[in-house]
């Protein structure tokens, strides 16, 4: 599971208010390089929940992301930032671990890179 996916996943348990983001408890992380696509990344800045990405990256051991995304007008020339964004969004893989709901503590296991988001019948 990469952080681009983590940025979409929330806890859908009935009654939960603080559904997003899920906290990451990693057990095994791998890094796989993929092609750098700056146009795509610039397009993504507006769509990503930045804090969830920064916190997610930190919990996976990557602390290079700034607390705030830079101004979109300066992005054109800010390749170092785009590289960090690229790396955190697309190259960090949570292979084994858990995604945890901040409100209920419910753990969603991640095995072989696949998060299990199946809820029990009484949860939804």
């Amino acid at each position: 599971m990469r952080l681009i996916v983590h940025n979409m996943l929330s806890c859908n348990i009935r009654g939960v208010v603080n559904k997003f983001p899920l906290r990451i408890e990693p057990e095994k992380i791998i890094v796989k390089e993929v092609d750098f696509n700056p146009d795509f990344l610039k397009h993504m800045i507006a769509k990503i929940d930045w804090k969830a990405l920064v916190d997610g990256a930190r919990s996976m051991g990557y602390t290079e992301l700034p607390d705030h995304a830079p101004d979109t007008t300066t992005l054109e020339s800010d390749e170092p930032f785009l590289r960090k964004f690229h790396h955190s969004l697309l190259e960090l893989h949570l292979e084994e671990g858990s995604l945890v709901c901040s409100e209920t503590g419910r753990k969603f296991p991640v095995n072989k890179g696949i998060p299990n988001m199946l809820f029990h019948e009484d949860e939804v």
Binding site: M1, R2, I4, V5, N7, M8, L9, S10, N12, K19, F20, K32, V34, N37, D39, F40, M44, K47, I48, D49, L90, K112, G113, I114, P115, N116, M117, L118, F119, V124
Partner: protein, 208 residues
């Protein structure tokens, strides 16, 4: 990539080893899958450099097709862990990067407007009544630009009405009618092979 090349690559994928009839697990053949994704990209620009979600991905045929057509990111969702394992192997075999999520698509709530395009070959609703509509409803909530889906031609009017009236569709168009070849997969199948008329749909959600 040319259509024939795409079709060839998809034909080599591993399919369901023990298909579960209740989930309507049928492979999406390379003929349909290649044409579906090729059309989505060549006619509408909905795949390359886009974020594509495959709902009910099964063994990942549509996901792999999207990745081969250079989607920026592909995410496959399915409820069955065994299919997801096969899908993972398929992605590795073709050396494409796909993220997979195990979930019940009808209970999933994806945050934000990250997904551009949803592609899917959903259950037709022959085992669990209304499954096709549940998948369509879920897809329309997630996709910010377009949904590509296969539904039985016999349900055409019903689908169109539901999409426009209930699922927030700005447009609902049948791109073409295809024959879906279903090989004898389950014991209860009497004929060696049967083909079903299916519509390839493109839906556009209204912007929220």
């Amino acid at each position: 990539m040319k259509l024939k090349q795409l079709e060839g690559l998809l034909g080599d994928l591993e399919q369901f080893s023990n298909p579960i009839v209740e989930l309507e697990q049928y492979p999406t053949g390379p003929h349909i899958a290649s044409r579906m994704l090729f059309t989505a990209e060549n006619s509408y620009g909905d795949i390359t450099d886009k974020i594509v979600a495959d709902f009910g991905c099964g063994c990942g045929t549509l996901s792999v097709a999207a990745a081969l057509l250079d989607a920026a990111s592909v995410i496959g969702f399915d409820i069955d862990p065994q299919s997801l394992e096969t899908a993972t192997l398929n992605a590795e075999e073709l050396e494409v990067e796909i993220d997979f999520v195990q979930c019940d698509i009808t209970k999933l709530e994806l945050k934000g407007q990250i997904v551009d395009t949803v592609v899917m070959n959903p259950p037709f609703g022959t085992r669990k009544k209304g499954a096709d509509m549940e998948f369509l409803s879920a897809a329309m909530k997630v996709a910010s630009h377009a949904v590509y889906s296969l539904h039985k031609t016999s349900t055409r009017e019903h689908i169109k009405r539901a999409a426009l009236r209930d699922f927030n569709a700005k447009s609902a168009e049948v791109l073409c009618e295809l024959r879906y070849d279903l090989p004898k997969l389950y014991k209860f199948h009497k004929r060696k092979e049967v083909d079903i008329a299916v519509d390839l749909w493109r839906f556009e959600p209204k912007h929220n």
